[in-house]
Symmetry: C2
């Protein structure tokens, strides 16, 4: 097979580092197949099959969204401004109960193009109908870490079924689509699963050599219930079960005791911070700057669109930084460069994908170009500050994943965007119809 090469000429390169700093320099960059093969000021045009003019653009890693539920874009703005209980029990779950394979596919297509258009090239998801989600990931060209959300409610038969689903998804999907799809186990949370499910998850995760994606410490009630039930806080309970390890991505982590922070640090558990969702649902403000001070790996997620209500990681970066500043009354916490690293290189670390998230030779080409010829990027005195504090997803001009151009000049390539939007509207209407029919 012929080598395919793309040359990006003269962009401002913004490269996040694991220590929270950012390198900025002007250079050209060559992509060969799915990798960054050369970063150099002088690369001849003749080396490339395709040339992208990067002048006046910022080249940065594609954003990495470490916690979402992609098909929930179908329930965007469907139920808002409600108490968590009513939101879930009266609105979200009754609709989700009628989702099916086809609806999940169309929802995933919508979510994937929303991400691609706002500069996200990789997301970690917990949901159902993983085959259909994978189909959408395959078709749109984005990168995904898929986990099947396991809930057993102490029912051993249900538990068996959940593992069957999970293991089948892992066997069928892990490392497929040229490596764009990997998988994890997804025990939903400690309040929807039994200790048996959790301990078996650890065993199976070790056996299949995949990580674990779980909701942790999202609400105050979750902590109180855990204390009432076991006299242990959620992370203490997982420690007690012996399942904490560095392959766990724990979403939310809003309410943490010092002892739990010590446990997260000790086992190098990865934290996915979801500031918009935690705020919209009034869950609370996670102690992110404290976690970072403890050298804990923090990344950023949007959560599902029904509690956000979009998948724009630029907005999420700004919200994360500003929320920490106002909550600690310290404007120096979560500076722009560090926030930028959480949404890129730290996300890659969290997902065990150390070949993405930064711009270095031999890394995989998951890259985006951001247009700076816009009012909100003028003047571009500090590119990283503009990215974190002034940009939104619509500033993204070009999105490249695994060396493939998925969007150029804001046009999704090789897919009919209008058809995807229309199909999603039809899917939502069908979902409403199924729910009404069942009532």
């Amino acid at each position: 097979m012929e080598t395919k090469t793309i040359l990006i000429k003269n962009p401002i390169i913004l490269n996040p580092k694991l220590d929270g700093s950012v390198d900025q320099y002007k250079s050209s960059l060559l992509i060969e197949n799915n990798k960054i093969s050369l970063i150099n000021k002088e690369i001849e045009d003749s080396n490339a099959d395709y040339i992208i003019d990067g002048e006046g653009k910022i080249l940065m890693p594609g954003l990495i969204n470490t916690h979402t539920h992609l098909p929930m874009v179908l329930l965007r703005s469907f139920a808002d401004d409600l108490n968590l209980d009513s939101w879930l029990n009266d609105h979200i779950w009754p609709m989700e109960a009628h989702l099916n394979s086809e609806l999940i596919y169309h929802g995933s297509m919508l979510g994937a193009i929303e991400m691609i258009k706002s500069g996200t090239t990789c997301f970690s998801d917990m949901y159902y109908y993983l085959d259909d989600m994978a189909k959408a990931v395959d078709k749109t060209g984005i990168r995904a870490v898929l986990s099947y959300g396991m809930i057993d409610l102490n029912d051993s038969e249900k538990r068996e079924g959940e593992f069957k689903e999970s293991i089948s998804a892992i066997k069928n999907l892990h490392n497929t689509c040229d490596g764009r799809i990997t998988t994890m186990f997804g025990p939903h949370s400690i309040y929807t699963t039994s200790p048996e499910l959790l301990t078996r998850t650890r065993k199976e995760a070790d056996k299949y050599n995949v990580g674990i994606h779980i909701h942790m410490n999202e609400t105050k009630k979750e902590i109180e219930d855990s204390m009432d039930l076991r006299g242990l806080r959620p992370f203490e309970y997982l420690d007690d079960l012996g399942i904490l390890s560095d392959d766990i991505v724990a979403a939310h982590c809003v309410w943490l005791s010092d002892n739990e922070i010590d446990l997260i640090k000790k086992y190098n558990v990865k934290v996915s911070h979801n500031p918009c969702s935690n705020s919209k649902l009034s869950s609370g403000i996670a102690p992110i700057s404290k976690l970072i001070d403890n050298n804990i790996c923090v990344s950023i997620g949007t959560d599902g669109a029904s509690s956000n209500n979009n998948l724009d990681m630029f907005e999420e970066m700004k919200f994360a930084a500003l929320l920490q500043k106002v909550n600690t009354l310290n404007p120096q916490v979560l500076p722009a460069s560090q926030t930028f690293s959480l949404a890129t290189v730290k996300g890659a670390e969290a997902l065990g994908l150390n070949n993405i998230g930064s711009i270095e030779e031999d890394k995989i080409a998951d890259l985006i170009l951001v247009d700076t010829n816009t009012p909100n990027f003028t003047p571009n005195t500090n590119a990283c500050s503009n990215i974190v504090y002034s940009a939104n997803g619509s500033n993204v001009n070009t999105t490249i994943c695994n060396g493939e151009i998925l969007m150029e000049n804001r046009q999704i390539l090789n897919l009919n965007e209008k058809e995807i939007l229309d199909n999603a509207v039809d899917a939502f209407n069908e979902l409403k119809r199924l729910k009404t029919e069942a009532e």
Copy 2:
């Protein structure tokens, strides 16, 4: 002069009400000269000189930004993640000291097109070189309430100069540009002005029949200093001076005692809420839901771009709503419809411009069209929720101010956008040069 008419066909109209609710319906709308002359499902094409297809778009009032410092877009992302003292003393003020007439004009042009492109049609500003700002307002077609920021630092000669500037600006600019420009007095704050300046401001404001725009209760230190100096909190001090009235727009209002809330309510003082700036500078979270419960008129502002770092009122709405929810741990406060009203009809009330801010026959045509054929508006189950929680300024397709189309299909009309951006970059470089030269 001939009547000019614009017909907007079949948009979804989203009309905010003063009680915080929103009307949504589908209709066509006719603009004659600068006013909404007819809202009706059946308006013949032949009635219009120009027709805009509103199908698949939301028609809403242009957003109203009640507190900003427009030319500070030149200092966007210039100094971030700093303590307020260092930010102001070491970075912002040393640069501002070298601003001049021309730089202010180019900064104002940049800020104005940033607003127009993100759906803001009216802003209330406090800054210097008002003639140059007015020139930019005139040229870009936006609506503005301009106030000259008065600072006397207890110096009576300086005070005289400040009033001379203010009164001259009010005489020259109030009700100019077909009514698009009005003015206010702008005593900067209680910590930068003398009691003499404040009491005279009340007298002059009454004489010239214009309002007062002032920074109030932004930081905890401001309260502590006021208590130390006078034994009175800031609003108690203004009450003591006898200047509180319903024509005052008080920006920030982060730290308020119950007694101060009572004073704000008693005198019907208007509050401008600036959540991004208050968060970024770590000032604190204003008790907005409590103010609204007290029937106080709250509106929304972005503050200057150097502490935000953009002028996107969609982002500001989302941030306002989410911040109140997480701060009160109540997801029902500041619901989408109410937040929408703060950024529109309440802004109009705050600025004494009761002929804008909502969509009714005979009101002035300050309107925007938002494209819903995008991933982040799909499905459009709840248009108001999508506007507040999912949209950003880039979703705005068309901006109309005073019956003139300023942007259509995201193209600024009658102005060269690229030239405005280039001039702003040159202005920033010149500002740096002037500062370096003076050192």
